[in-house]
């Protein structure tokens, strides 16, 4: 794509999310969502083939439906409160419709079906933007309306997402689908604690974005989209295998890596609010996630599967230089001792 046009479109995506996050007028928020959606379609379709067309169409349809539902919720809110400022939502019906619309945008169960299919059909870089940047806008709206969200619906969606994210990823070998299911599960964790402490949602979002960025960049560096091609990284860049191991264990939520911090804080917040069975269930279901991450680490870093001699001597193209990778890796694995600093978020 022409670099100038690509930059313009990328800036529009950024601008759309910024408008959503910083507006106080409901209409502007809706406009921001639409700008974001329309501008990201060309980015999803950077390579022009039927697969990306299908993925982009699915994305467009689900997100447009969600935006329409959001508009309906906004209008009902307007009818009942008479003003367009974003504070809390004044009518339970509008609250439920808005929560469903935002859940559709985020990819929570039962609206999660588009996430694996869209993520699989697009390139790794577009998938990266889809799974990290696109989650910021809906999450910021959920943060702002969090006092008026119906707890039952949100918790049901959250727990079901963790279940679906865990079970759905078990049968996958395509890396992008694995990341998609991991995103569904993490969104579940984030929304579970939204009503109790939105700060922890933001913390979880931050750490999730760091870990997903790291994973995708490691995949981009070895240009691998399947587990099979990921298992050849020991040949190309052996250090990457260790980094993949550390980041995957961090995503699975193992102490002492930083992926444990959001889970620990969320469990603490939920227990303080006297729900004890729920965090236990959530934590045990996160083990399903850990299982397929372990499977990935087994094939990548901990074993060397039988391979023909051809595979041992691969073409060495010029090494991609990803400047942001080392600090991201450090941040996504070593942040746990900084947990006492979380008091600054209050």
């Amino acid at each position: 794509m022409n670099p100038l046009i690509f930059t313009t479109i990328l800036m529009t995506v950024l601008l759309g999310t910024m408008i959503v996050m910083m507006s106080s007028h409901w209409l502007m928020i809706w406009i921001g969502f639409e700008m974001n959606l329309l501008a990201i379609i060309p980015i999803l379709m950077k390579k022009y083939n039927p697969r990306t067309m299908e993925a982009s169409t699915k994305y467009f349809l689900t997100q447009a439906t969600a935006s329409m539902l959001l508009m309906m919720a906004i209008i009902i809110n307007l009818m009942h409160s008479g003003q367009w400022t974003i504070t809390k939502v004044f009518n339970p019906t509008a609250s439920i419709i808005m929560t469903s619309a935002l859940a559709m945008k985020l990819g929570l169960t039962p609206f999660h079906f588009w996430v694996p299919e869209v993520t699989q059909g697009i390139s790794l870089t577009s998938g990266l933007i889809l799974l990290t940047w696109q989650k910021l806008a809906p999450m910021s709206i959920l943060y702002q309306i969090s006092p008026s969200i119906n707890l039952n619906i949100l918790l049901t969606m959250a727990v079901l997402s963790i279940l679906v994210g865990g079970w759905g990823g078990l049968n996958q070998t395509q890396l992008r689908k694995i990341m998609a299911y991991s995103s569904i599960a993490h969104m579940g964790w984030m929304t579970a604690v939204l009503v109790y402490s939105p700060t922890l949602t933001m913390l979880n979002m931050l750490i999730y974005i760091m870990m997903t960025l790291t994973m995708f960049m490691l995949f981009i560096q070895s240009s691998s989209t399947t587990t099979l091609s990921l298992s050849h990284t020991w040949n190309k860049t052996p250090l990457t295998t260790t980094l993949i191991l550390i980041t995957l264990l961090s995503m699975g939520g193992l102490p002492p890596l930083s992926g444990f911090m959001p889970k620990w804080m969320i469990i603490q917040e939920l227990t303080k609010n006297s729900s004890i069975i729920l965090p236990t269930l959530m934590a045990i279901m996160a083990l399903l996630n850990l299982y397929f991450y372990m499977r990935l680490t087994y094939s990548t870093s901990l074993t060397m599967f039988p391979s023909t001699n051809n595979m041992k001597m691969k073409w060495q193209f010029e090494t991609k230089q990803i400047t942001l990778l080392p600090p991201l890796i450090v941040m996504s694995s070593l942040l746990l001792p900084l947990t006492p600093m979380l008091s600054i978020l209050d």
Binding site: P255, F260, T271, L287, L302, T303
Partner: protein, 459 residues
């Protein structure tokens, strides 16, 4: 405590910056020096805890375990030299780094004051152990072994996290130094029963309790020698240590909640000892004998009398040294014949007489011969379980008999009789191996002269 933790962390740069011919010498020497520092902690003048800051402390229970942990690192490094000799330098350094990382986490776990910090470090020990088992194990089954190990432990310990956090909400702090002073009795209700279960299951899986022990034979057999040593000697004792710490907060429910686990342990120790008699795989035999000894520790901890706590602590230390020594002996067989089958390497007394002496001493301490500290541990446990209920003496007596049976079976099969013709060209014992066995046996024998340092905080 930082005087032990920081040198252990610095062992990692030492490994990476050493020259090729100096890595083993450097790491073994410095880890031996660190273990000498930890010996000073054994001097506990009173029953209060010693050396405490807000975050680390040591008391008569954790000091012997700490000394065992630091003592074991040079031994693990010595034992691993042979099977790593053909690997490239970076992989040797990676292996030593994994061992050192595990060591650091273990030291911090045994000396942690805050229970959540204990939990995080308890879980953190899983990651280097998993990497050691799956990356450097020898057979295909190691993948399954790693998964079983990781998931059994995690399933047990996630409820522990929730339980610890809810206890923190109830009592305000989880600092162990505080809890022992304003401990209140737990009222009897269904949710407190689940709290008890959540707290104890993690340690039961780690010990392991008889019904949850499936991960142990897999992990012990598939791990390389250093992995087996650290698993048997220290990681199982983490479960015992955790149970000893957390039962102080869980009274008075332990008096009736402990019954199912006591039954499982009492029956399980007989069952696993009997399975040992039918094993063909040498490492598997030693693994099941670990389950049997740890079942005794579980019985001792759940009875909660002063004598049983003394027996549990002594048994943990004694079993750590003995089991680790048995794994080293089995590994010396494995390195020569590349097979773990017992009958493939028999009659070794004619070929390797000095090693036969070590085999004899190890088997004798495994069956708890007087005056070794194994006997002190087992005897205290038997006596305290007899005072708890007279009938258990039957089971305990049967267990001691069967333990003697399989230890002697192992000794006689590997050492006595005519040697097989295919092993008459094995290499003689290396000095390194003899030194390894001597370093295992010397603390064991010396401790029988002064066992009060390992008898824990109820002495």
């Amino acid at each position: 405590m930082l005087k032990i933790i920081i040198p252990t962390i610095m062992l990692m740069p030492l490994t990476w910056l050493s020259k090729k011919n100096m890595i083993w010498i450097n790491t073994t020497t410095y880890s031996l020096l660190i273990s000498l520092i930890s010996l000073s902690l054994l001097n506990q003048p009173s029953n209060n805890s010693l050396n405490f800051s807000l975050m680390f402390f040591s008391d008569p229970l954790s000091a012997p375990l700490l000394v065992l942990t630091t003592w074991l690192l040079p031994l693990m490094l010595m034992a691993s030299q042979h099977h790593l000799s053909k690997e490239p330098l970076i992989r040797k350094k990676l292996y030593i780094t994994m061992l050192t990382m595990l060591q650091t986490f273990l030291i911090m776990t045994f000396t942690a004051t805050e229970l959540i910090s204990f939990y995080i470090l308890f879980e953190a020990t899983l990651v280097p152990t998993l990497i050691i088992i799956t990356r450097w194990g020898n057979q295909t089954e190691r993948l399954n072994a790693g998964l079983y190990f990781l998931f059994y432990t995690l399933m047990g310990s996630l409820p522990l996290l929730v339980a610890l956090i809810s206890i923190q909400n109830l009592t305000g702090s989880l600092n162990f130094l505080l809890i022992q002073y304003w401990n209140q009795a737990l009222p009897n209700s269904w949710s407190n029963i689940f709290l008890w279960l959540a707290c104890m299951m993690a340690f039961m899986v780690k010990m392991p309790l008889y019904g949850l022990h499936l991960w142990l034979p897999k992990a012990h057999v598939e791990a390389p020698i250093a992995g087996s040593m650290v698993l048997a000697a220290i990681l199982l004792k983490l479960g015992g240590y955790g149970m000893l710490r957390i039962t102080t907060m869980l009274n008075p429910q332990t008096s009736f909640m402990a019954y199912p686990f006591l039954m499982l342990s009492l029956w399980g120790m007989i069952m696993t000892s009997s399975i040992c008699l039918r094993q063909t795989d040498l490492k598997s035999l030693i693994a099941y004998s670990s389950v049997s000894h740890m079942a005794l520790v579980i019985v001792a901890v759940l009875i909660q009398t002063p004598w049983s706590y003394m027996g549990a602590t002594a048994l943990m230390i004694a079993h750590g040294l003995t089991s680790s020594m048995l794994f080293c002996l089995a590994n010396s067989n494995y390195e020569r014949t590349h097979s773990r089958t017992m009958i493939l390497a028999r009659g070794l007394q004619t070929l390797l007489p000095l090693m036969a002496a070590w085999w004899l001493l190890a088997s004798l301490t495994n069956l708890a011969l007087p005056p070794s500290i194994n006997l002190i541990g087992e005897l205290f446990v038997v006596m305290s379980s007899f005072s708890w209920s007279n009938i258990t003496i039957i089971l305990m007596g049967a267990n001691i008999t069967i333990t003697a049976l399989y230890s002697l079976y192992m000794l006689i099969t590997t050492q006595r009789g005519k040697y097989t013709h295919h092993i008459n060209s094995i290499k003689p014992s290396f000095t390194r191996e003899n030194a390894l066995m001597a370093l295992h046996m010397t603390p064991l024998l010396l401790l029988s002269l002064n066992p009060k340092i390992i008898l824990g905080f109820t002495y």
